[in-house]
């Protein structure tokens, strides 16, 4: 992890692959739904990636990693339970269910794609599209010029489009 904090991509990939196996085993022993396991693993990997600056090399790695994994697992289970509670039985009384929220799969793909954007691109898109800030407000908030915000957003959209349209091996 120390090497990863310094930018060593090869060491980081090796570490994440080892973490994947550990977290997969951790999640399998704690959730009954096998289809949730990979989601939890990916959520944990993303959190480790985003919060890697918080790892203190003077402390052991595993407690840090498992603390993140435990919380991501709990968050995920709570989120899934809430989604299940929002399911509305179809009026016809049939077995079909109508979702109040959009289907999960596209959201998951979008979140994965957003995770691969740079911090600035992700922040600009989040503030523009989710928080509803104007370009001027974002430029003040992030200390960028208005044109930089527009360019960052444009590049972010372009990268998102490429990531979302690239063929996937199936998930």
């Amino acid at each position: 992890m120390c090497l990863a904090q310094d930018g060593d991509a090869r060491a980081y990939e090796t570490l994440l692959l080892e973490v994947t196996a550990l977290v997969r085993r951790f999640a399998r022993t704690r959730v009954r739904q096998p289809e949730w396991v990979e989601d939890i693993v990916q959520e944990t990997l993303f959190s480790i990636h985003r919060d890697r600056h918080t790892y203190d090399p003077s402390r052991p790695f595993l407690p840090w990693m498992y603390a993140i994994a435990r919380h991501r697992l709990l968050d995920f289970v709570v989120k899934q339970r809430r989604l299940e509670e929002k399911e509305i039985p179809a009026a016809s009384g049939g077995e079909e269910r109508v979702w109040e929220d959009p289907p999960r799969e596209p959201i998951r793909l979008l979140r994965r794609a957003l995770a691969l954007l740079s911090f600035n691109q992700r922040e600009v898109i989040r503030l523009l599209k989710l928080e509803g800030f104007s370009v001027l407000e974002i430029s003040r908030r992030m200390g960028l010029s208005e044109s930089s915000v527009k360019v960052t957003a444009h590049r972010g959209y372009k990268k998102l489009r490429a990531l979302l349209t690239e063929p996937s091996d199936g998930d």
């Binding site: 990916q42 993303f46 600056h53 957003l114 995770a115 996937s168 091996d169």
Partner: protein
């Protein structure tokens, strides 16, 4: 996207990061300027004229010591809980709340003793004390949240609450040195309750402010 592909994508976007300093250092880096800031604010607001004679009162010292313990404990705990894997046990996390409760108990006991002596509580509003607490606490509170935002609190509501409680308790120490009123009811309603309210507001602010920084999605 398969997990292994996701791992490769994360590794491909890897950038060097600046490591967060250890929690104890960040706590000290926050606490020392916060104490300085509140001290300067207290001097600017004008300490009560009888502060020296008041300092001889054990009740005054007991309350100030309790508040400083709440301040120190909550700042240390807030910064520790902002780093995954360094979180403290539940009973340790609750220490600042116990400190606050003990302060409330001391005030209640003081109010009982005050009334049994037949002394009437001075009436009047204490909004000026609330504004003093807000004035003295705003910089430490905002700076604590900004510093915690750099970390990755796994319990953002709790971390926000403890951080604001820390800032509020320090601000109340300053306010106690400015406010000329000693009746325990005044201190309970206009010093203790606002500090407790800051702790509650910290839950909401933490969930809003400390999660937003981490979500990124």
């Amino acid at each position: 996207m398969e997990t292994e592909q996701f791992v490769r994508s994360l590794a491909a976007t890897l950038r060097p990061v600046r490591r967060l300093r250890p929690a104890r250092w960040r706590a000290v880096l926050w606490a020392v300027p916060a104490v300085l800031c509140v001290s300067i604010g207290t001097v600017l607001l004008g300490p009560r004229s009888d502060l020296l004679s008041r300092a001889a009162n054990p009740q005054f010292w007991l309350q100030s010591a309790l508040l400083l313990i709440v301040f120190a404990a909550s700042s240390a705990i807030a910064f520790r809980t902002s780093v995954p894997g360094s979180e403290v046990a539940g009973h340790v996390r609750a220490l600042p709340l116990w400190g606050l409760l003990v302060w409330g108990f001391v005030l209640a006991a003081g109010a009982w003793a005050w009334e049994s002596r037949g002394e009437a509580a001075a009436g009047g509003s204490g909004w000026i004390c609330v504004s003093r607490i807000a004035l003295l606490g705003v910089v430490p509170a905002v700076s604590a949240l900004l510093m915690l935002r750099r970390a990755a609190a796994l319990r953002p509501g709790w971390t926000g609450s403890i951080a604001l409680l820390s800032a509020a308790s320090l601000a109340v120490v300053g306010t106690q040195m400015v406010c000329a009123r000693d009746d325990p009811w005044h201190i309970f309603v206009w010093h203790f309750l606002p500090a407790a309210a800051c702790g509650l507001a910290g839950v909401l602010l933490g969930r809003r402010f400390l999660v937003t920084s981490r979500s990124g999605l």
